[in-house]
Structure formats: structure tokens, C-alpha cells
């Protein structure tokens, strides 16, 4: 347990004076098990929550097939109350394509990280977008391989310290970050492209709205939809948990800018 200045942590060798009482269970309906093995301060559970709430609120539960990549978020692939197809690292968009083509009435979304989608399987999402495949891809972007312990990905921003860029990523040595949402917005076939974040309540609400809109566009059959979500990874960023939301705003979001990049259903977007 970390001690912070100004916060007194009461040492106690005995049991608490009062038993814990459940005031309210905030676990979303579609998450079977609220507990998970992800680190304190991780943004991925917040993003997952927004996605499953959107599925639920749009009445899509009994049509939904989620396709999961491999990363920390894979912790959720076997405890959701929606059907899940677990993919290999990098391969979720092609599996989602097969599912959708075989079952056009199904509502299909993928969950992948930046390592999964932008490093391992970049061509998958680009071709899926270009085909106008009527699926929604969600990318949880924390700029590191979180599951392996904080290594550089293709979205790591210049200056960011990772386990294999100890002095910070430099363009000279490690190249430039790929801004995936910007790239996908430029492809004919993508119907809705947005980038959100979960570092504060406002952004969580905004991101939830983006996911909802993307899902609605898929239901309407407009084509490929994509929501990138910037998520905190204090463990992989080697910073205090409490500093992660601000670090996200100052570093990741400064490069991977938040906003709706494309919406074919709106002429003003």
C-alpha cells in the first residue's frame, strides 16, 4: 500500500469495526463477474462498461456477437453475458467479417488494443474498413503493450517512456506513431470514425455516445464503424495511478486527438 502525503492510512491489525454493506451493485447487466485481474487505475474496464451498456440500451443483447483480441481486456471475453468469439492477437476484424457475412442479422463488434490492432493486425482493420464491412471495431488505445508490462506499440507517442524505449520514444530511432482513427476516416467504406477517452467523467459520457452512435450506424447498415478509446495504463506508463488521467490528456490525447472524425449520416460532421 502506498502512503501519500496528506492522506492518513489508518494502520489496523484487527477486523473493521463495521461489516461492509453493499449500497448498490454497479456491475452492468451484461458483465457476469465484476471482479477482474486488471490493475488499479486501468481504463479498460470503464471502456468495456460503456460498450456493454450501449449493447444493452440499444436492445441488441440477443443479436450480439463480440469478437475479442488478445490483451488485458481479454479478461472480459469469458465473463460477459453476450456471445463472444475469442480471436487470436491481431485477427479480430477478419473473424468479425466471417461472422457478419455468415450471419448478416447479427450485431457484431470487436474489442482490440493498440498492440493487437495497430501492430499485429493493422492490415485487417484497414481492409475491413475498405470493404465497408458492416461491423464495429473498438480499439482500446493506451499506447503500450499493457499485458506484457509496458512496451512500445505503434501508437506510443514521441517522448513516451516504455520498457523498450527507456529514454522515451524518438522518431529517429523508433519511428512515428500511427494515428489509426485518422487513417480509417480517410478510407471509403468507413461510415463512422471517432476517438474518445475515459480519463474523466465528461470523456466517458462522450465515448459512450460515440459507441452508441457507431452501433446505431451498424444497425442502419451504413458500413464500417470505428471507435478508438484512449485508456489509462498507469502500470505500463510507470506513473502513479492518480496521475494517469492527466498523463493521458497531456500526452496521448495531445497526439491522438479526441473527436468525431467521420460520420456519413451527418453532413455537418
Amino acid at each position: 500500500m502506498t502512503e501519500h502525503e496528506g492522506h492518513n492510512i489508518v494502520p489496523s491489525g484487527g477486523p473493521p469495526s463495521q461489516p461492509a454493506t453493499l449500497v448498490r451493485d454497479f456491475t452492468p447487466d451484461l458483465i457476469d463477474v465484476g471482479t477482474h485481474h486488471l490493475c488499479p487505475g486501468c481504463g479498460e474496464p470503464v471502456a468495456m462498461r460503456a460498450a456493454v451498456e450501449a449493447v444493452s440500451e440499444l436492445g441488441l443483447v440477443q443479436r450480439t456477437i463480440g469478437v475479442f483480441g488478445i490483451g488485458c481486456y481479454t479478461a472480459f471475453s469469458n465473463n460477459l453475458d453476450v456471445e463472444v468469439l475469442q480471436a487470436l492477437h491481431g485477427r479480430a476484424p477478419s473473424l468479425a467479417t466471417g461472422v457478419k457475412r455468415a450471419k448478416p442479422d447479427a450485431f457484431v463488434f470487436t474489442v482490440q488494443g493498440d498492440g493487437d490492432m495497430v501492430n499485429e493486425g493493422l492490415q485487417e482493420v484497414i481492409h475491413t474498413a475498405a470493404r465497408g464491412e458492416n461491423v464495429t471495431c473498438i480499439m482500446l488505445n493506451n499506447g503500450v503493450f499493457g499485458e506484457t508490462g509496458g512496451h512500445m506499440t505503434a501508437t506510443t507517442v514521441i517522448g513516451q517512456r516504455t520498457k523498450n524505449t527507456l529514454d522515451g520514444r524518438t522518431a529517429e530511432d523508433h519511428g512515428h506513431p500511427i494515428l489509426l482513427a485518422n487513417m480509417l476516416a480517410g478510407i471509403d467504406g468507413s461510415a463512422y470514425v471517432a476517438r474518445g477517452a475515459v480519463n474523466n467523467a465528461h470523456n466517458v459520457a462522450l465515448t459512450k455516445q460515440m459507441i452508441t452512435t457507431a452501433f446505431e450506424r451498424q444497425v442502419t447498415g451504413l458500413g464500417f464503424t470505428f471507435v478508438e478509446i484512449l485508456t489509462m495504463c498507469p502500470t505500463g506508463w510507470f506513473i502513479e495511478t492518480t496521475e494517469a488521467p492527466e498523463y493521458l490528456a497531456d500526452n496521448l490525447a495531445a497526439v491522438h486527438q479526441i473527436g468525431v472524425l467521420k460520420d456519413v449520416a451527418r453532413t455537418d460532421a
Binding site: 443479436r63 456477437i65 479478461a75 469469458n78 461472422v99 457475412r101 455468415a102 447479427a106 450485431f107
Partner: protein, 356 residues
């Protein structure tokens, strides 16, 4: 149903569709290309989908997705493309999904890739190797039945000759086999508290704790593989082995040439026998042993440097010397057109073993 003159690729495509295949994904590569062409032409007309994937990686990914919905699905390539697919093939097996995979191979250098699996982990595929188009039509249809019966990928091992020669063949729908797809995804189990999961990490939802239990899952996969290996009756062709002093073993297209050479030698009065494994995994070891009982030598012909010979040796277990009479034979294209597939050449090699 009538008999029609069809190229092998077209016959295989039509046979798969007659067997219920409704999803196909592929990436062109000789000699697999024409199967993709015919599937692209034929599948939309029967309400199916054929995807021109951006690479073999995505071709098998798409087939994986379709297979997960219980749709009879297939993909394929030649050996090089199959190399790209191995990671997914291994995971599809661990996710226990039915899939038919064609390897229209260049010669027979992919025997190990097909029968051992080029992917990671402790898994097996059923492998069927037709010698001609008529047999291929039957075997690709059986492949779907086996894939669903065992919830396991099934490989069909063909070659350039199979893909690019033509024969008069009848394509009939196989007798309907009941396919259990209760495991398949369609979305409808969502929200019931028992939503389905198909995962190479284990398909068990853990209600009381987070995370997968790989020890349990891999143990159950191993059990299923053992059951499949014991439950599949391997197909094999044997001819004139009862009194044979030398038994010749070959598979696939070369099997037809070797069979012709053996028949010619028999007509000449030489006691030569012939064995052609049709199922390459599980290998028909018992039939090989039976065929080779009493023989003083076993000769193996393959168009490679000697791969199936390992399985023959493992079957015979030293009861007779096992000699290799094959070797890589290619024309300049490398596609698997073999100058050695000449009955006179093969006769001479068998006679040489007989004369020892």
C-alpha cells in the same frame, strides 16, 4: 444427377457446395486458384458468401468467424499459404471448430505440414489425400461430415494434377448427416445468463472468478483429440498384398502411377503389392502392417525427400526393411508437375528393390 466432364478444381468446388458449404475465403495461389474462382462464382447463387481475402491470414480468419456460427465453411491455399494460416489453424482446433481446409499442394513436400501441423500447441487434424477427382469429390464431402462430427478442422491434401486435370464425374449431394450446431454462435444466448463463448482459451464461462483456466482447457482438448484419433477409421487402398514379397506404399496422385507400375509388374509375374493411405492422419497403421506381413521389403514412393516413410516405418516397426524409392521431382515451374511420374521409371525402381 448426370455425369459431367469437370476440371478437378470445379468438381471440388461443386462437391463442397453440394455437401452444404456456404462460406469460403481464399487468396489466389497456384494450384489452388481455380477452386477460389469457382467458389466465388457458385456460392452467391446458393445464398453463401465467398470472400477474396487480403491474405491467407485473413482468409482463415474469415473462415474461423463463419465456422463459429455453425456455417459449413472452408478455406485453402497451397503449402506456402497454409504456412501463413498455421497460427489460426492451431487456435481453431483449440477452439474446437469445424472447418475444411484444402491444401492444393505443390508436389508432396507438405506431408509433415499437413499431418504434424505447422502450428503451435498440442493439436491434430484429420488429413484426407485423394488420388483422383472422383475420390476428391467423395472426400471433400466426407471432410465436412468429419469436421462437424469431431468439431475439428479437416485437411484435404490435393495437388496440381488434381486441380488441373479433368474427368467425367457425378456430383451428388451426400446423404444428409445430422450436424449438431448447438455450440454455434448466433447471438441468441445473450442476456440469458448462459451466453455462449467460443475461445481457444477455453469455452467455459467462469461465474465465480475472473480469467481462463488453461490447464483444464488443454486437458479437455487433449481428451477430444485422443477420442478423435481412436474414433476415425482411416481409409486405405490395398491391392495384391496377400502373397507380396515387396509392398509399395504411395499416397495422392503418385499413388495412381505407382499402382499402374505394380499392376504391370504383377502381369509380368512379380509378387508386388500396393498400399495407398487415403487418410494420412490418423495414419492407417494397422492396414499397412497387415499388407506388409510376410513381405521381405517395403518400398515408399513420395514426391519429396521422404516424409510419409516415417509413418510407414513407425507402423512396420522393423518387421521388414523400409526403402525410399521417391525423391523430389519437379519441372521448372515448381508447381508439382513431376517427370518421375512415369510408369516405366517407377517400375524400374520397384524392380530394383525386388532384385535385392
Amino acid at each position: 444427377m448426370s455425369t459431367r466432364l469437370l476440371e478437378g478444381s470445379e468438381a471440388i468446388a461443386e462437391a463442397m457446395i453440394a455437401a452444404g458449404c456456404r462460406f469460403f475465403a481464399g487468396y489466389p495461389m497456384t494450384p489452388f486458384t481455380e477452386v477460389l474462382e469457382h467458389m466465388a462464382r457458385l456460392l452467391p447463387g446458393v445464398g453463401g458468401a465467398c470472400m477474396n481475402a487480403e491474405s491467407e491470414l485473413e482468409a482463415i480468419g474469415m473462415a474461423w468467424g463463419a465456422a463459429a456460427t455453425g456455417t459449413p465453411a472452408a478455406t485453402g491455399s497451397t503449402g506456402q499459404g497454409l504456412s501463413l494460416m498455421q497460427e489460426s489453424l492451431a487456435e481453431i482446433t483449440l477452439a474446437r471448430l469445424p472447418l475444411v481446409v484444402l491444401n492444393m499442394a505443390r508436389a508432396q513436400g507438405d506431408y509433415f505440414q499437413a499431418t504434424r501441423g505447422g502450428g503451435h500447441g498440442d493439436y491434430r487434424h484429420i488429413v484426407l489425400a485423394p488420388a483422383d477427382i472422383t475420390e476428391a469429390v467423395t472426400l471433400v464431402q466426407q471432410a465436412f461430415a468429419l469436421a462437424f462430427r469431431w468439431r475439428n478442422p479437416v485437411l484435404v491434401f490435393g495437388d496440381y494434377y488434381l486441380a488441373h486435370t479433368a474427368t467425367s464425374v457425378e456430383i451428388a449431394a451426400p446423404a444428409s448427416d445430422e450436424r449438431d450446431t448447438s455450440w454455434a454462435l448466433d447471438g441468441r444466448s445473450g442476456g440469458t445468463g448462459r451466453a455462449k463463448l467460443l475461445s481457444p482459451l477455453g469455452a467455459f464461462k467462469r461465474k465465480n472468478q475472473a480469467g481462463y483456466n488453461l490447464a483444464t482447457h488443454y486437458a479437455s482438448c487433449a481428451e477430444a483429440t485422443a477420442e478423435m484419433a481412436a474414433g476415425v477409421r482411416p481409409l486405405v487402398e490395398t491391392e495384391s498384398t496377400d502373397d507380396a514379397e515387396v509392398v509399395v506404399v504411395a499416397f495422392g496422385t503418385p499413388g495412381r502411377y505407382v499402382r499402374a507400375a505394380v499392376r504391370a509388374l504383377r502381369a509380368q509375374g512379380l509378387p508386388i503389392g500396393f498400399v495407398r493411405p487415403i487418410t494420412l492422419y490418423p495414419f492407417p497403421s494397422e492396414a499397412v502392417v497387415l499388407a506388409c506381413t510376410g513381405a521381405r521389403a517395403v518400398a515408399v514412393y513420395e514426391n519429396n525427400q521422404g516424409q510419409m516413410i516415417d509413418d510407414v516405418r513407425l507402423a512396420v516397426l522393423g518387421a521388414a526393411p523400409v526403402t525410399f524409392i521417391g525423391g523430389l521431382s519437379l519441372d521448372s515451374s515448381g508447381f508439382g508437375i513431376a517427370p518421375d511420374l512415369d510408369v516405366q521409371v517407377l517400375r524400374a525402381r520397384i524392380e530394383e528393390v525386388f532384385a535385392r
